[in-house]
Subunit: 167 residues, 6 copies
Amino acid sequence: METTNIRMAEITSKKPMYREAIAEGTIYLKESTVERIKDKTLEKGDPISTAEIAGILAAKQTSQLIPLCHPIPITNVKIDMFLEGNSIRSQCKVKSIGQTGVEMEALAGVSIALLTIWDMVKPYEKDEQGQYPDTSITNIRVIKKFKESEEENESEKSSSESLRTKT
Amino acid sequence: METTNIRMAEITSKKPMYREAIAEGTIYLKESTVERIKDKTLEKGDPISTAEIAGILAAKQTSQLIPLCHPIPITNVKIDMFLEGNSIRSQCKVKSIGQTGVEMEALAGVSIALLTIWDMVKPYEKDEQGQYPDTSITNIRVIKKFKESEEENESEKSSSESLRTKT
Amino acid sequence: METTNIRMAEITSKKPMYREAIAEGTIYLKESTVERIKDKTLEKGDPISTAEIAGILAAKQTSQLIPLCHPIPITNVKIDMFLEGNSIRSQCKVKSIGQTGVEMEALAGVSIALLTIWDMVKPYEKDEQGQYPDTSITNIRVIKKFKESEEENESEKSSSESLRTKT
Amino acid sequence: METTNIRMAEITSKKPMYREAIAEGTIYLKESTVERIKDKTLEKGDPISTAEIAGILAAKQTSQLIPLCHPIPITNVKIDMFLEGNSIRSQCKVKSIGQTGVEMEALAGVSIALLTIWDMVKPYEKDEQGQYPDTSITNIRVIKKFKESEEENESEKSSSESLRTKT
Amino acid sequence: METTNIRMAEITSKKPMYREAIAEGTIYLKESTVERIKDKTLEKGDPISTAEIAGILAAKQTSQLIPLCHPIPITNVKIDMFLEGNSIRSQCKVKSIGQTGVEMEALAGVSIALLTIWDMVKPYEKDEQGQYPDTSITNIRVIKKFKESEEENESEKSSSESLRTKT
Amino acid sequence: METTNIRMAEITSKKPMYREAIAEGTIYLKESTVERIKDKTLEKGDPISTAEIAGILAAKQTSQLIPLCHPIPITNVKIDMFLEGNSIRSQCKVKSIGQTGVEMEALAGVSIALLTIWDMVKPYEKDEQGQYPDTSITNIRVIKKFKESEEENESEKSSSESLRTKT
């Protein structure tokens, strides 16, 4: 009796090409907490740079966190944070020249960045019973996925040259 | 000139006590994808067990993923997945007898579990342009946080005895 | 006085080429435990998918586990489990287009998959003294190692084209 | 519809007590390779110390490698290697004062130690086709598991005192 | 023939007690680079917070980086950075209530924090040949190591109470 | 309001080319400790091989330790240790065929190798108060950084051929 079912996607024969993905998500906080972040008066320090760093590290670790993800030669991870009223929106852009897409890397970067924000504002978000009635992470999605089409790829002398104008 | 700002919470003098946290989140998919999951006809195998395992591993790694989290002696991580129409809701419960709460561990468990679902249903969620118009992770929040109050703790002979009836 | 001895193999000048390796190993259990696995009545859940996932993750981590292994661009890890009487045989196949072989990755995948089986059947394998008289992991070996020879490699227009028929 | 099955063992209410486990395994090599190891003439350096270090690191990482293992406060890992004819036997002893046993840690230590030996002797074990006809890892098992019984534990003033004579 | 030599320190019978360690180190840079850091005009962003976060994460990972270090229940890591002329001095303080000292954790925190500074100022420190004539990390040492003596420990009602005044 | 500042260097359009870096650093110890190391009479075993292995593993982990470092296809890490009077000098050479330099990898390798030496000689370096008056790590710097220039690269048929004579 053979029992098997978990299978990674087969990418062995895919051509390395330029790929990028942008993912986004939002954390809702108390408006007073977002004000504190703007005023840089949090006890634990600046959550924005901490979240960006945590997200970048997580994006690079995606193949260890998500079981069927391939190790990918990431060439860039960029995380942006937008403070908007009672929320912070995070956007993560990942680039690679590889054999498979980088949307999971971008999603992992956004997710861990937003969790890091949560961790740094815990004392301001908890109510008297230690609960979080106002805090939630929401709307994590892939804004855009892009890969250089094979045609473009072949019509240009080298993929690195073509990238010089794009990046 | 001194420049410092990133600070972990000081837990050195806190008493170890029983703590638990439950976090939840939902991934929206195409209804046909959720049907495929129920029918167990995914090319990559069963996403439910894969997501549960990934979430459990992530919860145990929280202090490496979220910079200011403390290493915590986790005693249990449990992940449940509920298939509901065009969505899957994930719930993660973490237990510890330690000096600080485990809500970040529960949130990390839920987040990585949901990302793992996404990774395993990619071929069914992508449209012809390789985009994900229907897929999103949403409403990640802490359902409940609990710690044994100091009074309870002291009025009982040993915390492990009192736990025997609770867990 | 100079004291040095630990040396990684020098692969800098090796050509990237298609490589694969298959490793195998067997865990012996009580026959009743293997029956329970078939009947899916284990308290901890399905050990087969858990072992497959753990093995895939471990194969991808090989260069962190085995000190002199190179980081390798793995393109696929596949683990199969065969339930046979009082044993489970595990086979792990790893593919890469890289500068060195992937047999250590395949061996690491098999080893961790089998250890994961053990972990999930502990209550059924322990005797009254908490010992494991019937449990053992055995016969871990490399079934097959393959690399595309340089001749083949050069006689074809592109290695990715040649792979399309192979994989 | 609820779909859940992967469950960690519940150890929350267990008392921390002294626990140890000893696991063992053997790698079969060519006799000439074992001779080379004794003569310390391997190109990659001493495989014995490398394997011991890799095994110690792996034992400490067990809860990241084996999905349902708990993080455990390991107090000692010791690996011994015995060169015997055409084989090397490895023994790993792990100690902890914790809520669950350490046999998986000992098994992980032995397994990675033996894989590390394999990695370091690859050039001497491969035949002309790059295969490993003589190499295998076998007989990985738990030699002994021990925990301080509750009675002993309570009859002594402090567990640390009682340990002073044992370790 | 038995061949063994790598041995972790035996801490099984040691009493958990309050421990702290402070380590320090300095990175020398061009004075113009330190000015840029003060002016916050680095292309890669603020190296101070990035270094603090990297150092905190590294301190928590010490038992994975340094082979014979024990996993330790760290309760706090604090990193301070002092900008002084053409250098940045980093100080890392680690606290734990555990069975062994935390000086290696403090040293790892300082070391990785200083390496992170280096990484973030690379474009300003390299000369035309891509070399680093002005950059060096120096004087990494343990400033202070402290543990609560057994006498103090016993003369107070509870170690957590005594800590409340100290921390 | 947008708040962003942490940015990885953009290497997407850079050509992969041969790169190497050599870093160096020194740990000062008591002369008697260096003698013990030469005599191989340390309680914890040989610190030289342990440090070499720890340094190699750390160099391979650099992109996880230093937040803005890219994952790099390292092809070789070599660590040498020189025992000199009351000090040990460590040198780490890293090679890669990639899109960015490997000096951070070499610096990480040296740093963790030297910290590992410290860990293994702790009992001999501590004074009666448990302090380390004689121990320090110093002069960590990049000895040499090299990349194959674009001209050389293009004037030769294949980079792997040209490397055969260099490595």
